[in-house]
Symmetry: C2
Subunit: 170 residues, 2 copies
Amino acid sequence: MIEVLRLSHRLPRDCRISTHCALTARAFGATKIFYSGQKDKELEESVDKITKAFGGPFEIEYTKEPFKIAKEKKQKGFTIIHLTMYGLEFEKEIQNIKSKNIFLIIGGAKVESEYYQLADYNISVSSQPISEVSALGIILYKMNGIKNKFDNKKLEVIPQQKGKLLKEHK
Amino acid sequence: MIEVLRLSHRLPRDCRISTHCALTARAFGATKIFYSGQKDKELEESVDKITKAFGGPFEIEYTKEPFKIAKEKKQKGFTIIHLTMYGLEFEKEIQNIKSKNIFLIIGGAKVESEYYQLADYNISVSSQPISEVSALGIILYKMNGIKNKFDNKKLEVIPQQKGKLLKEHK
């Protein structure tokens, strides 16, 4: 089980970035994203709409107590991975991760040091300033590859050489 | 050589998404990103600032004629890859790409069909709605792995288990 925590969502600045984080999480096998900061109904609706159309399971939940949730996940046996530009190289580190239950934390303008302390792994994808969206996508892809099965989907992309084809499921 | 074209940049909606595309492109080995749509000085400054600090080569250039640029790149022998949710599965397709010169096109709200026609490869990362940022990151990572050498950098992240360390180069 993979869950994600997106810290310090800010409006309007982060609206699309957080949406892209959630969609990337969903597509690469996470089943839930929590987010903290400012509650954002539009974000939640965008993500739920995609899940309803293209399948799940995936949910998005707002939290006012992100650190408490992270601590609870750790107590429940999740391996806590904090994605930060400053962390250790992900290619080496993820070889050591044996747990199937992963709680992935992504910033957030400034991440408090308590998250660095709580995390089992502070991990960087590239040690360069990139994006929480691409960092999340690359680490999930590296860990899980492509996810092929989505439940209760109404729409499915049928890959095309040129053009677009959406199959409707009833 | 890898270059990227980001289509139809819209203000203020795409400001951060396009910045994240550019930074992801830079970190994973592209040397240039073109963008079309609305000219955005803040986007250019953000990207140039990161390149000055963390090294290059990398540049960002606005264009009013994105399709003309794509056509010119094709004439010069670049392999044109258009990233689209509707395309063929990237893991299979990139095995066929032998060229070292890649021109990667990313949308854009609605991408005109001429790009689908021009592209040597219309490729999807996951066949799910994700994000141009994560799609770009995953395909570049899959093709090139991690880039370790950046020229003329002033700052360098020294990976840490917990905490942050930036080394200054003079």
